[in-house]
């Protein structure tokens, strides 16, 4: 083995260039791959990168885009708040109360692993056709992974921290804010990164089936008319948003710890 990996941290020190340069290389490689695939399959099957960028610019500058984006953004923001805060509270509580955690964990894992898309008629029947169904669909996708990450992180906190907190007679809220959250921040951020992506997915799926507005609706329209350029352009937009958010959370995580630059 040329490179032996004793510790992941050591690898970082050994890498010659900054990760920013690597990301640029990767970005260029993906663009080239995309272009080659487009040449092989034909531009009507896979739109080429320049054509997709032009299409995206056209979609964004179209007058009705602001309305669609606002609709999706509103539902997504509400769903995100529910997923992240709700998941965090559930996860911290279940991690702190050992028995409750043991009772709930297999149930949460089972809920996480069922194909939630089959539940979409139930959500529609419960919440009706409207923004609340979209929010609910987004939230049920995001809340469980956030809760599972937070719960497992709290369980792995060293007992000394919690004993100290109890010795100081902190209230539950104080324990959560001053002990649990700081001690589990990396896992919470990891949960948030996944939760962000899955909530966006859930909101979009909700829009695809049960809406007349929003980016999900635009996607369904494009699918039904086999408008590949629009599909690719919107997919590019979503990947950009989600990747930026994921990268920002990663930065936040590293910034809070004050270690290596990313």
């Amino acid at each position: 083995m040329a490179v032996t990996l004793d510790k992941p941290t050591r690898v970082h020190g050994r890498l010659p260039r900054s990760v920013g340069f690597d990301r640029l290389l990767l970005f260029l490689a993906l663009l080239v791959l995309w272009q080659v695939l487009s040449w092989i399959a034909g531009p009507e099957v896979i739109t080429s990168p320049p054509a997709t960028a032009r299409k995206l610019a056209a979609i964004i500058s179209a007058p009705d885009f602001v309305g669609h984006a606002y609709e999706t953004g509103r539902a997504f923001a509400a769903a995100l708040v529910i997923s992240l805060l709700g998941g965090l509270v559930i996860g911290l509580a279940l991690g702190f109360r050992r028995l409750a955690g043991e009772v709930a964990e297999p149930l949460l894992v089972a809920l996480y692993s069922i194909p939630k898309i089959t539940l979409y008629p139930v959500i529609l029947l419960l919440f009706g056709l409207g923004v609340s169904a979209k929010i609910a669909f987004g939230a049920i996708h995001g809340i469980i992974p956030v809760a599972l990450f937070a719960m497992n992180a709290v369980r792995n906190i060293r007992g000394g921290h919690l004993r100290a907190a109890r010795a100081m007679r902190l209230t539950h809220l104080q324990i959560a804010i001053h002990v649990l959250v700081p001690a589990t921040l990396p896992e919470i951020v990891a949960g948030f990164r996944l939760g962000f992506a899955l909530t966006l997915l859930g909101t979009l799926i909700g829009e695809m089936f049960a809406s007349q507005r929003g980016i999900g609706y635009m996607l369904v329209q494009a699918m039904e008319t086999n408008d590949t350029a629009t599909i690719m352009a919107l997919a590019l937009l979503l990947v950009t948003i989600a990747t930026t958010a994921s990268w920002a959370l990663l930065r936040l995580d590293h910034g809070l710890h004050g270690n290596e630059q990313h």
């Binding site: 890498l15 099957v45 149930l107 194909p115 089959t118 695809m208 089936f209 590949t228």
Partner: protein, 250 residues
Amino acid sequence: MSRAGFIRFLVVAVAIVVLEIACRAGLIDPITIIPPSGMAAGAWKLIVSGRYTEDILLTLGSVALAAMLAIVGGFGLGYCLFRLPRLRRALDPLLASYYAVPTFIFYPLFIVLFGLNRLPLVAIGFMFAVIAMAINTLTGFERVPPVLRRTARALRLSAPTALVQITMPACAPYLFTGVKLVIAYSFIGVIAGEFVLSGAGIGHQIAFAYNNFDNPTMYGLMLLLISFVSGLNMLLFVWERRFYRRRGLT
């Protein structure tokens, strides 16, 4: 049964009974949710009538193919990323945001590429599941204790032997998690695809029943599907436990 297991059983049982009573008492509109006994009856009727057997087998076949491809492909991808830490670090934000894009929006594209058959659905299930397997494989490999790697080197094991006899057992929990996610995600991918644009399969039949207000069929199919996925996960869980016990890991 452990105390937690007993409480869990009680919680689920009470929830089902409460739902049953609420439905029977008319607190919940039967157009919205039918009582659990009605769902079970619906599911039983589906199996006995055999009307949906073809759709169920079709979906299960597609899911099985997608899941197998995703397990093999995801494991290979995870291993490659592990051996290429530079690529892995650069790819990190993309891996986390991969799941924000509903893969099934590419269904029209896959139909053009693969033709109007089950392959586009398999491709959606595969695309949806493969990254989960890759991420878990990667995390597992990274968490293998250095002492085990050193042992492998001290014993002068060849790379494939070390992989099969040391690395893979050491990261088994992550691999099991990956496989469980692959099963869930390939179901999601295939069924979501069937929901949107297919003329057959469980997803199509659920959407069809929903559009026709045929609640016993819709809830029956959902119940069958969810029980099947949960049962499969449970089997994996039992196998995983047995695997750890045999290795003295619990």
